[in-house]
């Protein structure tokens, strides 16, 4: 296996985010964007007509069209002048909104989210897109504009490596305040466990900003299937309050039913808002999760 592309593998490995092998594997895939709202030229093929090399369609010739675009083969066959239309390659800034609340610190969720964020940033870097990492809990911490290029990626990695989970989550306030900044529409990925009651307002704010949004939910195996704990005091990781409980099989089943309804509500909201939803478990591979996102997310 060769050296990791990009020349920043040392930084990534030093920050214990991605290994050389993971970077090498990621370098062969990319995020694709079909409905980018951006007008800046880039490497994402747009449904809009443009001047790329990717053939899109024919249309009847209109006076003023470039004669080089007339399809002479069609004219020879049908005696009609048609003009070839090519796709337009546009740019899609990638915004990574990373939940850094205390609840993400349980069960390796934050470690998973950090690595997934790094992998996604790397994909954006490889696509030549601008990217930015925006950690949030109650509010978004960094509000720098997205940038492209290797220095920006290294800085982003450094910033990710310094993050630690703390505080409580306020999805509505954090995402709304971020969206109000008027960012250029782009790919907006929210990495969170979405254990916040007001996630709908936050996601809606992102959609109002004309972003293409993906809700990436990260849960631990214990979140999905809590163990039989017996007599314990359940403590909320963010708020610190607790309640005594006897967690047995029946209580676990009741909790799982509550979680199922909660995720059902999240899925319903995402469907209504046209948001893609993904669920990953923290004990899986973050790079594999990045591949899944790259392949299945078709904005």
């Amino acid at each position: 296996m060769g050296r990791a592309p990009g020349g920043f593998a040392d930084s990534a490995q030093a920050l214990e985010l991605l290994s050389a092998e993971e970077l090498w594997a990621l370098s062969r895939t990319r995020l694709s964007l079909r409905r980018a709202r951006s007008l800046a030229p880039g490497e994402h093929l747009s449904f809009r007509a443009g001047a790329s090399l990717e053939f899109a369609d024919h249309r009847p010739y209109q006076p003023g069209d470039d004669l080089r675009l007339i399809d002479w083969a069609v004219y020879a066959r049908h005696k009609k002048l048609v003009t070839k239309v090519f796709s337009r390659e546009v740019e899609a800034p990638v915004y990574l909104l990373l939940d850094c609340s205390a609840s993400m610190g349980l069960g390796g969720k934050f470690l998973f989210a950090r690595k997934l964020a790094a992998a996604l940033l790397f994909l954006a870097f490889r696509s030549g897109d601008r990217f930015g990492i925006y950690p949030f809990s109650v509010s978004v911490v960094g509000l720098g504009r997205p940038k492209r290029g290797r220095p920006a990626l290294v800085r982003a990695f450094q910033e990710i490596a310094k993050l630690s989970p703390k505080g409580r989550t306020d999805l509505a306030q954090a995402l709304s305040s971020w969206a109000e900044r008027g960012w250029e529409p782009g790919l907006c990925l929210v990495l969170s466990d979405f254990f916040a009651p007001d996630f709908r307002e936050g996601l809606l704010a992102l959609r109002y900003g004309r972003h293409i949004v993906a809700a990436v939910q990260i849960l631990t195996p214990e979140d999905l299937s809590p163990p039989v704990l017996g007599e314990v005091r359940l403590v909320d990781a963010e708020e610190g309050r607790g309640r005594p409980a006897v967690v047995g099989p029946a209580a676990c089943r009741a909790y799982q039913e509550n979680l199922r309804r909660w995720n059902q509500e999240l899925a319903k909201t995402c469907e209504e808002l046209g948001i893609s939803q993904f669920l990953f478990v923290s004990d899986s591979s973050p790079v594999a999760a990045a591949f899944i996102l790259a392949r299945r997310w078709r904005p």
Partner: protein, 551 residues
């Protein structure tokens, strides 16, 4: 071990801080969750018993409590009784009549020798029978003991109280083993019970003249102390011949048999039981009627009330010569009768009648012969003034006139009633036969009894002797075996019956539930050192667990 040990209880108080510290330290586990609101409304599970036990189980607390308990146990200085080979052993061998059954001696010796073999000695042995005897004194020579035990042999006497046998060796013996067939009432000793064989026997036998005086009747009680019906043949032998009876006696039952003996005369009677069994001494019983009768020579007027009173007191019968007793009624005797004499309104040379007088109020001297009499009921009309011999003892006065006095002369004892019985209500009172019986007991003090038991001393009056296998015995004789013995008296031969008392034979085998369990030789083994070692071991284990959990 004593739970009254104060230090042990003080140590148990250490449980209090152990529990307090445990509950101060013990808290519910905190389990952080991402979203507590998802747990809202979840009904708490009722944990299963094992899970609850597991949740509450704390090895440290268990070890601490165990250490405290072991410490308290050590402070209470527990001891355990263990069986160890016995040391000094006193053997008490029942040698009473019941042990004379066939095979019993061998069983006793086997048990005794087994005890000697299993103990370390020294040993001593006493025979528990009447009278108790020392079989051999304290010795540590096992061979000597085993040989001396062979001298054991049961007697035909009853057994006294156990402490009387133990008094032969007054020094304290840590282990006393009683080998007997009847362990009832034995306390404070180890008991080895020998089962008694099944038995049939005659439990009682007596003969009496019929009320009309023309024949005799034999009364017997036979017992069947076996587990099967027994057809018992009873034979009574008298001088007139043999008389037979037969009874089918159920197991465990006792039946009475009455045999009419026509033509029999007073004398010796033998009752035999067929078939015999392993204990022959109760299969044959002896009875002598002659020794209990009083040959009486009547002088003077007849008095049927007096005769009835005599017959009520003793078995009196009339003879003309060699009587046991003279009775003189309303007569003056010219010479002193050569024997005991009862004078009623009669005089004799020593106590002549002087005349008649009106009776004064009765008064009595304190004397055992007047016990159980109600003098206030007596009505006496006239009395006789009678000469009171020197040395006579006056029992009753009517005013100042002695009306009943006793004295002894060379011819025998005399008693005089100085009143005419027909002028008193005395013959009609219950006091009359009682008084006559008491007077006869004083007048005939040295009459040997006709029926005794083995081991009972028989006092023979002067001129009396008993004929035994070893020759004639005088003064005092202790029969050693049952049978009919001939007694030579100045007035001719008489008979004496000697029996083995039925009570000593043991009519029934001892109940297993009543047999005291053997008390094996025991010694105390102190357990507190082990408890102390266990205490420190558990304490060390607790410390290791504490350190293993991270302190």
């Amino acid at each position: 071990m004593s739970f009254a040990a104060p230090w042990a209880w003080l140590w148990v108080l250490a449980l209090l801080p152990v529990f307090i510290l445990h509950f101060l330290r013990k808290k519910e586990r905190d389990w952080p969750v991402s979203a507590l609101f998802l747990w809202e409304g979840v009904r708490p599970d009722r944990p299963r018993f094992v899970e609850r036990l597991h949740a509450r189980f704390d090895l440290l607390l268990l070890l601490q409590v165990l250490a405290v308990i072991l410490g308290a146990l050590a402070l209470s200085r527990p001891e355990r009784e263990i069986v160890r080979p016995a040391g000094p052993t006193l053997l008490v061998l029942d040698a009473s009549a019941s042990m004379a059954a066939e095979g019993m001696r061998e069983k006793v010796l086997a048990k005794a020798k087994n005890i000697v073999e299993e103990s370390t000695g020294p040993w001593a042995a006493v025979l528990w029978a009447e009278p108790p005897a020392l079989l051999f004194p304290s010795t540590s020579d096992r061979e000597l003991v085993l040989s001396e035990l062979d001298r054991y042999g049961p007697r035909l006497t009853p057994r006294p109280e156990l402490h009387q046998a133990l008094a032969l060796l007054p020094e304290p013996w840590p282990r006393v083993v009683v080998i007997t067939d009847n362990p009832k009432g034995i306390t404070g000793a180890e008991v080895v019970a020998i089962p008694w064989p099944e038995n049939v026997g005659i439990t009682a036998f007596s003969v009496r003249p019929s009320p009309d005086g023309v024949r005799y009747e034999a009364f017997l009680r036979v017992v069947n102390a076996t587990s099967a019906y027994k057809d018992m043949q009873i034979r009574v032998i008298s001088e007139a011949g043999e008389f037979w009876a037969s009874r089918l006696v159920p197991p465990g039952e006792e039946e009475e048999v009455v045999l009419v003996l026509p033509g029999a005369r007073a004398g010796a009677f033998v009752a035999e039981l067929r078939p015999t069994d392993s204990f022959p001494w109760d299969n044959v019983r002896y009875f002598v009627l002659e020794g209990g009768e009083v040959a009486t020579t009547w002088l003077g007027l007849e008095d049927r009330y007096l005769w009835a009173a005599l017959r009520a007191g003793v078995s009196a019968y009339r003879v003309s010569e060699n009587p046991d007793l003279f009775v003189a009624v309303s007569t003056n005797l010219s010479s002193e009768p050569p024997g005991p004499c009862l004078l009623v309104a009669s005089g004799c040379p020593e106590a002549a009648i002087l005349g008649e007088a009106e009776a004064g109020p009765l008064s009595a001297a304190p004397n055992p012969l007047l016990e159980n009499l109600s003098l206030s009921d007596w009505r006496i009309g006239r009395v006789y003034r009678q000469e009171v011999p020197p040395g006579a003892q006056v029992l009753l006065w009517a005013g100042e006139i002695p009306i009943l006095f006793l004295w002894e002369s060379s011819g025998g004892r005399k008693a005089a009633f100085a009143m005419d019985l027909s002028r008193t209500n005395l013959p009609l009172l219950p006091d009359f036969p009682i008084l006559i019986r008491n007077l006869l007991g004083w007048l005939l003090p040295q009459r040997p009894e006709g029926n005794v038991i083995v081991g009972q001393s028989v006092e023979l009056p002067p001129g009396f002797s008993v004929v035994t296998e070893l020759g004639a015995v005088q003064d005092l004789w202790v029969p050693e075996k049952p049978g009919i013995f001939r007694i030579e008296t100045p007035r001719g031969p008489k008979w004496l019956a000697v029996n083995v008392p039925w009570e000593t034979v043991g009519p029934e085998a001892p109940l297993a539930a009543e047999v005291p369990k053997p008390l094996p030789a025991k010694a105390s083994l102190p357990l507190w050192p082990w408890a102390t070692v266990a205490f420190f071991f558990v304490l060390g284990a607790e410390a290791l667990v504490f350190l293993w959990r991270g302190g």
